[in-house]
Structure formats: structure tokens, C-alpha cells
Symmetry: D2
Subunit: 443 residues, 4 copies
């Protein structure tokens, strides 16, 4: 008997967590936060600690596993994480300890979790680094394997559980990037082998299941960035903002900038954290990227230095969502000693995540930049999530016996159900919609 | 005294033609058709001949120069064309002869005009090939020069007229592509030199003046195509449709396909025409591209051959706008002996030009492809027209005394006026909106 | 045991048909066509006859009941139709006969079916007119009742089946119009009573389940029309196009026009058919509306007459979707002896149904009107389908044990599932998604 | 010689002010604020006083008339205001005094200005109430007349200046409402007469010049509100938020509510101000509307009272733009002792004015309402500005010698230029685009 219980990520993107019960042994996959609600929570309360556990659950910031723990907590054999994004791992310091079991992920992901634990002063004794391609025995009947996949953060993986019913694949947050600019391309060979073994169940990302066509490779962004930076070279300073965890993107910006004879500075605490995690796990070599400037005063000094050297610097920074208090917001509101003008460039290597707060912040930031006549380029970005045709490729590759879409609201899950129809998947027969709080049992 | 008269392209994109009167000597720049109206006209009347001249003018297909010719026809010293797109040159066979003056353009553009003349059985004695970078004396007081620029067709140019008032630049249909995949990048050095000489007037493309940011290079499309074709390699046949005149794009598709061990076939009469023009003018070498298959029967035979060789062919073809009677329309409606299935791919390396007819045709084509579960990728494309920031770069580069936006309706022209404001251009003082049929005089 | 089988209308709007099996006795509800596919089918084949049955099924124009008939045909006790729209009744002449059972509907709906039968030269012996509010015994264990509801066609009803498990309500194509301009408002009292009896199952329209707020009453359109017509009174002729079956709308236009001292003419065969059906069933009185002009020659003569009487006429006509061959298309393409100018008005009292063909036709029609400077008003219309908040009202009113959304693709069905959540409906527990071809059984 | 100088409202909506120089005598029309910038300014500085004059100008909140005053200040003979919206009058207390001339407007507008003056502790000695339809002698050669027009605030007028060159009409913020629910319909007769007198110049609103069709009457909203309120009657409390100055709308809500046996309360200081202005100028009778509750504590008490009387109250309140600190924001964030639930209704009788801040605030407000399952209806509203066809009606009615669009950015002005073309208006010949800071002279 296999039972799948959806804790988060099946009614809305965010707060991913699933329990997979295999004949009485349970694996928890992912343990994330609802980022939108986390931001609201943080606004009211600056210093979150482990004492906020109940409030975090009650405010919908992290999954509610209370009843589950009481009933089934002892059956949990492992917590496995796919990658280091906060909507997949942020809840680990709060929820994982009470399950007396290992927390397993790839090295970079583990490093990010260690940082979270440090922040929240939580000690966990059972963090297990597992490289992709290695088998890990969870119990006599369950073996775990992480399969290398591409996404917008290093060391992303699909979770493969070998059971006597067949392989269960939990594939959350993935794209098929055949020419990644950091790390390896998806391990298609291994996926093919797993298919031969027989896939019992595929749980798969639905973020872009409604988007036609394919998701482009990071190589496309690399050449877009090269193009835009080249056009911005006459500008005094080029500010580029992107996701702090997107190490590949950051590395590309640094390389392109240097190739074009610009020095690079990187600003921001989150940049520092992810880059250090990348270095310490060998994702990138020390020295590939410049040191990150973190302290406000140092950033200000750096900017004064840069202001005196027009045409010499590219600044990689935070604030692409227009977040209040992030670097770009402070820069545009005059909180640093650098005066933006129509001789500067600001490049957003990201897209605006569509929440009202983000859209407002970004709108106001762009208005402010426009009133200063700053040269702006937005959306120099491609998604980290598979599009419709990529999903079809994965399904064709795996041909699972059962299919459960995740990572989306019911419309996105439905789109994933729809696209599978051409391969013979039929709703409620071998493809299923389950929403947060629901479960499904396969006899 | 300099006088600019707008015949077409100032109230709507299409039918470009401008008269520039320099102290009594007139240069006509561009001489195109309104493509939407041309399509309607052709529907009613299959074989257009020079006898349709009046009907073409009355139906708004080509510029109405009748009164102008009577009054000022004798003052016309040259007809100069920027590039070979039909909205810039289609009217040449109909309108140019009565002006007893040379028709001047770059070699590829001239070749396309020769083909048009052949079609309409028109003989013109005064076609003049002018290479970019060469000076041509039009009269004692006017010298002409074509400046190399990038666009979505080979051999595109800006027109520079050297007059005693300064240089007049007519810049229609251009983008700044710093890494073009065919031909040279824009001749920035020459533009800088012209600026030093003093630019009296800039007439400039407004197609994308309302689009934020920069227009990406053709190199970006090249890597997008590589990415998409790679993902389509498991498909039996990959059909890619693009603009027939976009030789750079076609060449890239051929190169990528061959690199991935697929043979290429090219189908369609218009493909054949433009490719031959490109070869005969040295834009590409003979042998770079495969022979084009033109006749229906041969295309059918070729398809039968391809059908028996799954995984071996890429087909470059017409029909990306869903045009009735073009290859893709015939293919999907079963008029060829090739049955599309979910094992084929159709890639649209274009965007749908937004007219009701195109949108309907494309919508129906895509519906049909979807009902066959064909793998479709659309919009694998970047524009051939400058965006807002590119326009700012040009203005900064040239700093003309006067600015007249063209190639758009009043909204697009307005957007071009707006973006120039930061450089001190003010409406009716040194930037101007003129619409089709209007003129403006500089004393 | 109750079993619901979805034939059409659960994967896409159109082709509505559902089989409800109650302990071995089956009721078929609705029997419609996929209008988009019907239009395509008609394009290829002008005269559809009953001999086209197989082709109609194979082309997806009408539901495929072939296997069902073989297996369960004899169990069918009644075919019940909700209202007279073709996506709910068009297939009756083709599919109903072989089931030896009555076809039951309200009088106006029956009349429309009779017209269809006449067209296709089909004779059915068992058409049963059932007024809303009357009980009809289908068998010892099943009683049928039609409950008066509002929609965009007269005599619309919800189907209520009284069974020993409780009441089953099939509610397709409805809105809550509390101030209808023709007929009565929804029979809320009866719905309340049925709820007390206990609702076992609600199958409900999802067309606008994703649209926020409430759907406005036809009274809103009435006053909109009054406003627009008043503003158009200086025009020579006012052409108003709306749905032929929307008798309430047509009646309102006539009344408003007369109040403003304009005579009214109505043009078109479909107008004639529906209006006659309305008169013969007492929906409107004879004399309420003017005679309909049907024949092309007569229409032409009428137009000549109208052209000579500027300011005197309102013409109600077909063609609001831009359909080729309908009145407005012919008018604008000069096929009648009436020259449109900027002194005429064309009012579209409809919205464009979003298919590629409609959007193209409508776009071209509007372009043509614009080029003649005709005064156009579009979208003078409100929907005939319930919005999100209306759905909530129905659910609160009925509180069914089980809920199955219909009339939409999976996204619309999902939206209906979503909005029910606040009342405790949970997917797969007491609310369900079934798609065309699927069935669900309640033990 | 007539000269028109644009101070504000010609490059962006807001900050309306125009100087019309008639042979050396100047009339200033409107004197408003840029509301978006005013909101930002207020955020930084709570108590604006007349000492902020320079800062207000420098921050772009009010028109910059400094140079103008020095040069031409003495020529100003009158300041005339069209209506009481703040983007047309807010700057009066700051700018008007130094011109030693009367400030003229309709009674309600004057009342609103008096309130502003009280707020800013400014005394102006020359406020002149002028009823529509009355002639006012400004000088020997200029007579002023206010023509009754409809808009979304009482007592709106077009300004007509009788000069020896002909009539100059300044028509800002108007719609053609033929069935207004408060006040009279537009004075078409007078406009016709003025036309006979000969219109030299029309300066006209362009807000919705790009919107197809006609703008609907307030009667349409009235019936929409009736429909929505009727559907909300089962709810405990119905909260309706609209513009405080929209007295007609407020009056309709009160009447409808009472008709449906609901008592009404009105909350908010701005509601109080406008309603009092309306009463004191006879726009509505005392007693037509309930007393407004203004103080926070009283509002809280009222809400407690209402909470105990479910089904009995309609609350008219502020906050429809989601403004922080307005009633709805406070209500939803729990700052009052009233708990919203799925048994309450919130109706927005407004549209969201599209600035990033508004869109964010409104988005967050609606999210919060949704998470409480409150029944929401948005956009129960029609615009107060003329659409494309209404503009054509005005032009046809007046046939001015010259046309200058105002109240919009260059795109909206362009749309107004475009729609006038069918009547023979040609850009730069008899229709003109001038932007803020520019002027145009008619010899």
C-alpha cells in the first residue's frame, strides 16, 4: 500500500511538503515556507525564533503537521529535500527535529539548511549529504536516490524512492536545461534506467504546466545578458539584480563583465550566504567570484569609490522585486552616496513574482528609476520551471503508472493533468488531483 | 530650405515613402506597400499588373503620389531604398518609372527589386547598386551615402544625405545588433563621424519606440533555436517556419540542424527568391544552403521521402502567419502525403503580425496542430526593430538638430517624441509629428 | 446506486449531454452540438441530413453515444432538455429517436426542437411539453420537475429529478436575474423547498465560475441599450445586432426604439424562427414585435426604403460575431443597396465568443466599419451565465450532498470546485471533476 | 491674438492648469494637484501649510507658475474652475492669492474650495459663485459663461469665454449623461447656440479618448447597484465604498438601500465634507442622506451596533482604492470591533486608479477580503469621462475652428487628435498637441 498525503504546495505554490507512506514507512519530501505569508509574518515580527512555531503554522507560513505527527510521526524514516529554495526547505529548522530521522539532501542544499539552522539557533544532528547518483538505504524495503536535474539553484535533484511497488519519483522544481552554464545537464540516462525498472508514481512540478512550448536554457539568458551589458557599456555604472541563490546567473554576470573589462562588486548578505555555500560545497571555486560586501557602511564606501570610476564597474545586487530595504530600493531613495542618472544602467535579471506587494514595490522602483532617466532593462531572465512540452518529454521518458501534479493551485494541477492526456493518462484513473490536506491511497 | 513630405508610414506602419526636398531638389526615400491592404487586394484579384496602378493607389495599397508628381515630379533626383522589405520597396515597379531618376539601394535590395520588376514585367533602366560606406553624388549640392545597419533582412542601411544644411538621416527599420549572425554590426564609427559633421535632421523608425528596454541580438535567437531544436531531436520531422527574407535566420537553422546531424530541406517559392538574391549578391555563398524545393509535386515527393526517414530531417518552410495556401496550412489540412502526429515538431521562428486575418489564421493553424498533438514552439524570435533604449542610444549618438519619428501611427510616433525628451527634444520646437499627407518646412 | 456519465460539456463548453443512471433507470440530460465544430462541418458540407450521423459523431460535432446505446440504451427512460440553445439541443434530431422514450422540455424549447426536426426532416413522436413547476412521473421511482430559471433564452429551466436517494439537480446554463425583462425570476422558493427535501447531487454550469462578483440582470442591458440608442438618435439608421434566440433583448430593443419614435425592422431567418417559436408558445404576444423580413430581396427593398427615411428606423439584425454571410457582413461589403457612412450607427448587443474564427470575423467587420467612420458600440451586453458569487448563492441555497461542475474545460470545472470550498466541499470527497467520457458512481 | 499656455494636465492626467491669453488679458482655467505626487508628499509630511508652496512646486505637486507670474501675472483677470475635483482645484489656496483677481466657479465647487482654504488657513477675498447659464463680464472684451455638463461630481461645467475672435471652450472632465441621477443633463441647447456664435477654440478632456464606444450614464450604475445590493441582501452587513465627492452615487445607494429596507450609515471625514458642501449649496436637500459619522470612536460604536443587527444595515464608506488608513483597510485589518465573515458583502462602486501604489493596496485589500470569504463585487462603476464616440458628438456639435486636447499624456492627446480627423481636423493645421510647459499662439 502506498499513500500520498499533501501538506503544502498542492493548493498554491509554496510551503511544499508531502508524506509518502510506503507500506507503513513514511518519507517526507520537502519542508518549505509560504514565502508571501512569511514576508507578511516578518513585517509584524522581526526576529523569528523557534518559539514562533505555533504562530508560523497558524498563520499558514509553514505546513501544519501536528495531527500527522501525533498519529504517524514515528513512521517517518527520512526527510528528503530536492533543492535549496526556501519554499522547499525553510521549515526544516522548525519541523524536522521532532522526527527522529535523517534530513537528506545534496551538499549545497544541506549547506543552505545549516545556515538556516544557525540563524534560528537550531542544532540538528542528522543532516545527511547525499550526492546525486548515489544510492542510500532508508530501510530494508526502501532505497533513496537523488537524480541530478537542472533548476535555478545549484545541486537540484529529483527524489527517486525504490520500493517493491516500483520507483516513486518526486520531481519538484525542475527544468530540462541541456546546456546549463553551471553543473551538469539532467541525468537523462538514469531517468531512462529508472523507467525500465518501472515507475509506480510521478509527483511533478506544475508551475509552468500551462505555458506553451519549452523553457529555454540558462545559456539563453547568458547571451541575453552579454547583449544587454554590451549595450550598457557606455554607462557609468551597471547595476544588475538577480536571485541570490542563482549562482549560475551570478557567475555568468561576473564572467561577462570581466570579459568586457568591467570590475565586479557583489552586495548583500543573502548573496554572501549563497555564494559561501557554493564555494564550500565545490559548486564554484573560491576566487571565481569577488568577495561580497555585506555591511551597509562598506557598501556605501564602495559606491563612493565606484562613483569616481565611471565606466569601470558592474554591481551585482539585491532588490529585483523592488523589496523595501533591499539595495536597489535604498539606492533609488538616496540612502547611499551614489546619485543615479541617465548615465547609469539598471538590469533586472529576474521576473516580478506576481503578488500585489511585489508588483507595487517593483512598479514604484521602476517609476523612480524612470524619473531619473536611468537606463533600465527588465525580464532578462528565463524560468527555472518546465513548460508544457518539457512536461511531455518527462512523461514520455518515465511513463509512470500513476501521475500526481504538484506545485500549483488547482488550475496549474489541472493543466498538468490535461497535457498528460495524449499519453493515455485519465483523471481519477491514473492521474489525480489532490489538494493541500488531502491524501490518496494506492492499494 | 528643407521640406519633408510624408506619403506613407507616418499614420500606420506600411507603405513607407517620404519626399525630402533640399533647396528644390527632391529625394524620395522608400516606396512600399501597405501589406495588409495588398493581401486584401490580391484576394480579389490574382494577377496584379502595372495596369492596376490606379486601383492600387485608390485602395491604399501604395502611396498616392499623383498630385505630387504633377507639381514636383521633375525635381526628383533620386529614389533611395533602405532595405528589401515589401513595405519599403513593393511600389517601386509601379511608381518609380515616371520619375526619370536613378533607383538606388544596396545590392541585395536591388536584386529583390529586380525580381519584383520581373514579376510585374516592368523594365527600369536606372537601378543603381550602392554599397554601404560609398559616397554617391546626386547633384552638386547633395551627396548620398548608405550606412550599414542591422535589421531582419540582409544589406539594410540608413540613408544619409549630405547637404549644405548638414546631414539628413533617414533611418527606417533598424535595430542595434552588436553580434549579428550574418553581415556586419551597425557602422557606429561612421555614425559618430556624421554627428561631428552635424546632423540637421533624423527621421527614425518608431515600431518599437513604446517597448521598454533593448531589442536582443539575432545571436539570442540562434541559441534559442539551438535549444529548441535540441529538445525536438527525438521527433520524426522538425518543421521550422520563418520569414523568407530573413536569410540570417535561415542560415542559422541550417547550420544548427546540420551540427545536430539532421539534413535540411527548404520549401517555398519566396524562400527560393530571397535565397537566390542572397547568393547572387554574395550575402551568402552558394552551397551554404540546400537547394529550395518550389513545385508542389516535388514538395510532396520530398515529404514522402522524409516520412520514411524519421529523425533525419529539418524542413524550413513558409506559413508561420497561418496564411491560407502556404506550406504549413496545406500540411495541416492534409494536402500533402505526410501525416503529422505527436512525434513531429513545428517551430514558429516568428511572431504573429497583429492583424485580424493573421491572428485568425494562426489561431486556426495552432488549434489544428494541437488537435494532432504536434509539439509546437511559437515566438522563437526577436524583433528587427529598435526598442526604447536603443532609440536613446541613436539619439545620443547623432544629436540631430531636428527629429521626425516615422514608421508607426500617432501613438508610436508620440512614444518616440517622449523618449527623446530627456535629451532636450521638445515637441514642435525640435521634434515633430507629421502624419501621412502632411509636410513640414525648415527655413 | 447513482451513476453519472459525462458525454459532452465536461472537457469543453459545447455538446452538452449527461447520462444519470438511477438504480438502473437512465435519464439523459441535454443533447447538444459543439458549435465551433458544427460551423467547420457546415463549411465543408452545406446540407446536413440524418445520413451524416456517423460523420457528425466522428468529427466531434455531437456526442458519441454508440457504445452506451448498445449497452445501456434500453435503460433510458427520458431525454430532458434544459433550454433551447443549440449546444444543448442540436443533436436531438440525430440521437434521440433510437431511445424509445419521451423528449421532455419547456414549451419554447420544444418548439425550437420541432423546428430543428423539420429542418432535418426527422419525425419524433414523443415530444413532451412540460411547464416549469409541474411534476412528471418518469417511473415508479423517478419524478421529474423543471424549475424556472433565468438565462439568455426564454423558458430556461433547471432539471430536478426526485429519487429515493434525494433530489438530483442538473443546472446548466443559468444566471440569477432578479429583474428579468421577460419571464419570471428564478423560482427561489421551489429551490428552497427542494433543499429541504434533500439534494443528493448538483451538476452545475461552470462557464463563468472563474469570474469574480455577480452577473448583472438583463435590466442592466436594457438601460445600457436605452442610453446608447439615445446617443445614436441623430444617426440615419441604427443597426443593432444580437443573438436571435435572445427574445427578451429583442423585445427590449423594439420597445426602446418605439419609445424614441423609431420604427423597427427585424431581418434574418434565425430571428424569424425564434420569434415565431416565442409567439406560438405565448412567450410574447403576437404584435409585440414587427414581422421579420427574411428573403434577401425583401431585405434589400426594405433597406432602400429605410435609406430614404433617415432618422426613422432601427434595424435588428444578425451578424454580431462578424459571421460571413450574415446581414452585417453583407451590409458592410456592399451587398445591399445601403451605403453606410459616419451618419449611421452599429450597436453590437453581444460579446464575441472567443474562437479564432469569430475573433477574425469580428475584427475584420469592425475594421471595415471603422474605415467608413460608422459609429460603433460593442459589448452592450451582460452574460447569461452565473459568476462566482452567484454560484455561491446557489450552493448555499441547495447545500447538495455531492457537487459535479459541468459546462467548461478542466480549468472552469476547477474554479467551480474552488469556490465551493468555503462551504465544506472537498475534491473527491463531495465535489468531483469528471471529464468527457468519464463516469462516477455513488453507492 | 490668442495664446494658450499649458501648465499641467497636458503631459499626464493631474495638476490641470491652463493660461488663455486673449489680446493681453489672461484667464487661468483650473488649478489642480498631481494627486499621485500629493499622496507621496503627504506621506513624508503630514501637515501641509502654505509655507510648503515652494516644496509643492518643486516636487511637481502643483503647477509651476513662478516665471509666468513674474512676467504676466498682472494680466490675469480671472481664475475659473470647471468642477470640484482636487486635480482641478487643490492648488487654489496656494497659487491663487497673488493674482489679484476673482476665483470663479459653480456654487458646489466654490464650497469645496472654501473647505480647502479653511484646511490650509488661507483667506481669499474674491471667491465668486457663478451659476451655469449666467453671463459674467470679465472685461470689456471677455465675457465668461459656465455651461452645465455632467461628470462624477455635482455642479460640473464647461468654461465658455466669449471673445471677439469667437467662443473659447475649455471642456475638462465631462461626459454626456442623458439620464443623470442628480442634476441636469448637459446643456446641449446652449452648446448648439454657442456653435452658431462660432467656436474659435475647443480645449477638451482626453482621459478616455482611446476608449471605443460611448460612456454609460450614471443610471446604468444605479441599476447595477440595485442588482448587486439585491443579491447581497442575505448578508449581514453590506459595505459599499465609492468616491466621497460622487454625491449622485451616494444618494442612489441610500435610496436603493432604503427601498430594500436597509438603514444606511455613512462613515468618513471626506464624505462629511462633500455631503455638507452639497447640502449647503442645494445640490441635495438636508435629510436626503443620513448624518455622516466621522470620529473613529463613534464609527467603532456604530459598528458594534450594526454587528448586533444583521441584515439591517448598509454602510457607505471610504477605502475603495485600498488606501492605508481608510475605513476598509482598518476594517479588514481588525482595527474595529466588527469581524468580517462570509456573511458580509463589500461592494466597490469605483475602479482602481492605475498607479502602482493603488494597485498594490487594492490587491492586498482584496486578498484579505478573499481569505475571509467575504462576498465581494468590484467595478460597479462607470467612468465620468467621455469615450471616443462622445468626443465625436461634442466635436460635431461645436465644430471649433481649432482643437487642443488636454487631460492626458501624449498618447491620450494623440487619440483625441485621431478621432477628430473624420471631421477634417488635421494635426498642426487646426488640431494641436501641446505638452506641459508649452504654448501656442493663434494670430
Amino acid at each position: 500500500m502506498i499513500k500520498v498525503k499533501a501538506f503544502g504546495g498542492y493548493s498554491k505554490i509554496g510551503k511544499s511538503m508531502t508524506a509518502i507512506d510506503i507500506d507503513g514507512e513514511i518519507i517526507l519530501t520537502d519542508m518549505g515556507a509560504d514565502i508571501e505569508k512569511l514576508v507578511n509574518f516578518e513585517e509584524d515580527k522581526n526576529d523569528i525564533t523557534v518559539n514562533d512555531l505555533t504562530a508560523l503554522i497558524d498563520n499558514g507560513v509553514i505546513p501544519d503537521d501536528r495531527n500527522f505527527f501525533l498519529e504517524d510521526g514515528k513512521k517517518v524514516k527520512a526527510i528528503v529535500l530536492t533543492h535549496g529554495h526556501l519554499d522547499h526547505i525553510w521549515a526544516v529548522p522548525f519541523l524536522s527535529q521532532k522526527y527522529k530521522c535523517p534530513v537528506i539532501a545534496t551538499p549545497f542544499t544541506i549547506k543552505v539548511i545549516e545556515n538556516l539552522m544557525k540563524n534560528f539557533k537550531v542544532r540538528s544532528l542528522k543532516l545527511v549529504q547525499l550526492n546525486t547518483g548515489t544510492m542510500y538505504k532508508i530501510s530494508d524495503s526502501i532505497k533513496l536516490e537523488l537524480v541530478n536535474i537542472t533548476h535555478s539553484i545549484p545541486n537540484s535533484s529529483m527524489i527517486a524512492l525504490h520500493t517493491k511497488q516500483g520507483v516513486i519519483i518526486y520531481a519538484n522544481d525542475w527544468k530540462f536545461d541541456n546546456t546549463p552554464t553551471l553543473g551538469k545537464k539532467p541525468d537523462y540516462e538514469r531517468l531512462e534506467e529508472l523507467r525500465k525498472e518501472g515507475i509506480f508514481l510521478l509527483i511533478s512540478d506544475s508551475t509552468n504546466a500551462e505555458v506553451d512550448g519549452y523553457t529555454f536554457s540558462e545559456s539563453v539568458v547568458k547571451i541575453m545578458l552579454e547583449d544587454i551589458i554590451k549595450k550598457s557599456l557606455d554607462n557609468k555604472t551597471i547595476f544588475i539584480s538577480t536571485f541570490s541563490s542563482h549562482i549560475a546567473r551570478i557567475k555568468n554576470i561576473v564572467e561577462i563583465s570581466r570579459k568586457m573589462n568591467r570590475n565586479v562588486m557583489i552586495f548583500g548578505r543573502s548573496m554572501d550566504m549563497y555564494i559561501k555555500a557554493a564555494i564550500s560545497t565545490g559548486v564554484i571555486n573560491r576566487g571565481t567570484l569577488p568577495e561580497v560586501t555585506v555591511r551597509r557602511e562598506q557598501i556605501n564606501n564602495a559606491l563612493k569609490y565606484v562613483a569616481e570610476r565611471p565606466g569601470k564597474y558592474v554591481i551585482i545586487c539585491t532588490g529585483h522585486q523592488g523589496e523595501k530595504g533591499a539595495f536597489l530600493d535604498k539606492l533609488v531613495t538616496g540612502q547611499y552616496q551614489y546619485r543615479l542618472s541617465n548615465e547609469d544602467a539598471v538590469i533586472f535579471s529576474s521576473r516580478t513574482i506576481p503578488t500585489p506587494v511585489n508588483e507595487a514595490n517593483k512598479g514604484m522602483l521602476k517609476n523612480a528609476l524612470e524619473s531619473l532617466n536611468v537606463n533600465v532593462a527588465d525580464n532578462v531572465h528565463v524560468s527555472g520551471h518546465a513548460s508544457k512540452n518539457d512536461h511531455k518529454l518527462l512523461i514520455k521518458m518515465l511513463m509512470p503508472k500513476h501521475l500526481i501534479p504538484s506545485h500549483g493551485g488547482i488550475e496549474k494541477l489541472s493543466a498538468n493533468i490535461e497535457l498528460a492526456r495524449e499519453f493515455g493518462y485519465e483523471l481519477n484513473k491514473n492521474s489525480y488531483i489532490i489538494l493541500d490536506g488531502q491524501e490518496i491511497t494506492f492499494q
